[in-house]
Amino acid sequence: MTRIGAADRETTSVERVFREANGQAVATLVRVFGDITLAEDAVQDAFVLASDRWRNDGIPPNPAGWIVTTARNRAIDVLRRSARGRELHEQLGAVAGTSPGSGTDNGGEDGPVIDDQLRLIFTCCHPALRTEHQVALTLRLLGGLSVDEVARSFLVSPSAMAKRLVRAKYKIKAANIPYRVPADADLPERLRSVLSVLYLIYNTGVDDPERAALRSEAIRLARSLVDLMPDEPEAAGLLALMLLSESRVSARTDAGAHVLLRDQDRTKWDRTMIEEGHAIVRACIRRDRPGPLQLQAAIQAVHCDADSFEAIDWPQIVALYDHLFSVMPTPVVALNRAIAIGETEGPDAALSALDAIAPDLDDYHLMHAARGTTLRRLAHRDAARAAYERAAHLAASEADRRFLAQQIEELAENGTYT
């Protein structure tokens, strides 16, 4: 038993090292060889070699460096064997001509390694690539997920995902998408693109236990982005937003059904994540360069601050939604603001706010769910049931449908809220 346990632990730590080293190794090799597929394959081969050797010899002191050196030598071998490669290899000359096992040219200096990783992030999330390609490249190249794992995460077949990745890499090469950190003038827009890819990865894993790994991967990537770009408050905001959302995951569902914030068991919230999220939000406030992600994180921070539903500082939340709406005037922000207004000004005010945005969000189940809850508080029983039914019809997740079915049942039994 203990021996199996030890082997399991070893497997897990090797896997963790792989995850951590993958982005760094691919990033460095893309710079050296200028070819994503070559880099990707060589790093894959290095991992295969490592998983054999490390199990016998143990993990080396600088595992990422070992992977980079091994992958680099592997890529040189591949190049030597192809005619086109020989040409490329000659051009590369001294750059790629490191002796096997030197292993010290990586990790010694932070500068180039950090730049390589940033270059790879910005290339994967380049706005000239469609969103699903950005996401697939990010998970494959930076996250180190296998093609099968990426395919499972997005509910497509492995062959469809492989094709998607080939198409994305083809465009990078054909259109000559640069492997570089964008110029200052382009940075805000390009960073927004990176942040939205990471947030999309996180949200894809929300409320789906099968895809929970995407959430931790998104958090890991956001954390490394914050390390790489410590002066970007929105990157910090995204990390805080994910942590504060993640801290409540275990309280958010019960027996497969969604649990409303007011009914959540707050003792199940993860205090460590909340503390880290709060610390980041405080640092953002001190920095005073607010943006949409920092404001959303601040709203989550206020929620996590309350010991009970009654203790939530709703006026503060409404004020933050007002600020958020001024920088991000979307119907979904307006919806969340309307729900918060229901707590400060009452259900009448919430209903007029909801009615104002209803045409824009007619296909969005949460708008109808919010209307249902508001109508229920106003004792409009039939209208409430109709809204819940419409929400249930539109809801995509099983947890949401179960929650809504529960609301409809409660409405029939107990009538309205008091």
């Binding site: 259109a175 000559n176 640069p178 570089r180 964008p182």
Partner: protein, 128 residues
Amino acid sequence: MSQYLLSTYAVVGEVPGAPSTPQEMQTFMERVIALEAEMDSSGTFVFGGALHGPDAATVVRMSDADVVMTDGPFAESKEHIGGFYVINADDLDAALAWAGKVADATNHSIEVRPFRATGRVADHMPGA
């Protein structure tokens, strides 16, 4: 250095955002002339032009051993290329920046496409 085709598409009979008064035409021309001067001085401009409409097009094709001509454009689509630039650019970011300037000066959407190869095929043959 890569080369890119920046092209604009127009729907026959519709020219969205086109200048409508002589004054608007004047400032439109000034913007485009200034942009092309900037392209020239930076070594970006390779070639460019505005095309007559698809009604002026003729398609030539081989049918067995005969050359056959038909009146009209090749693509049965509402949109046709209205004009284009061929530019030199270091990479896609540089090409996109130029496309942004063209879109701003002309008030048209611009499609950016990389060339796979340019010049004469013979130049790309081994030993060329």
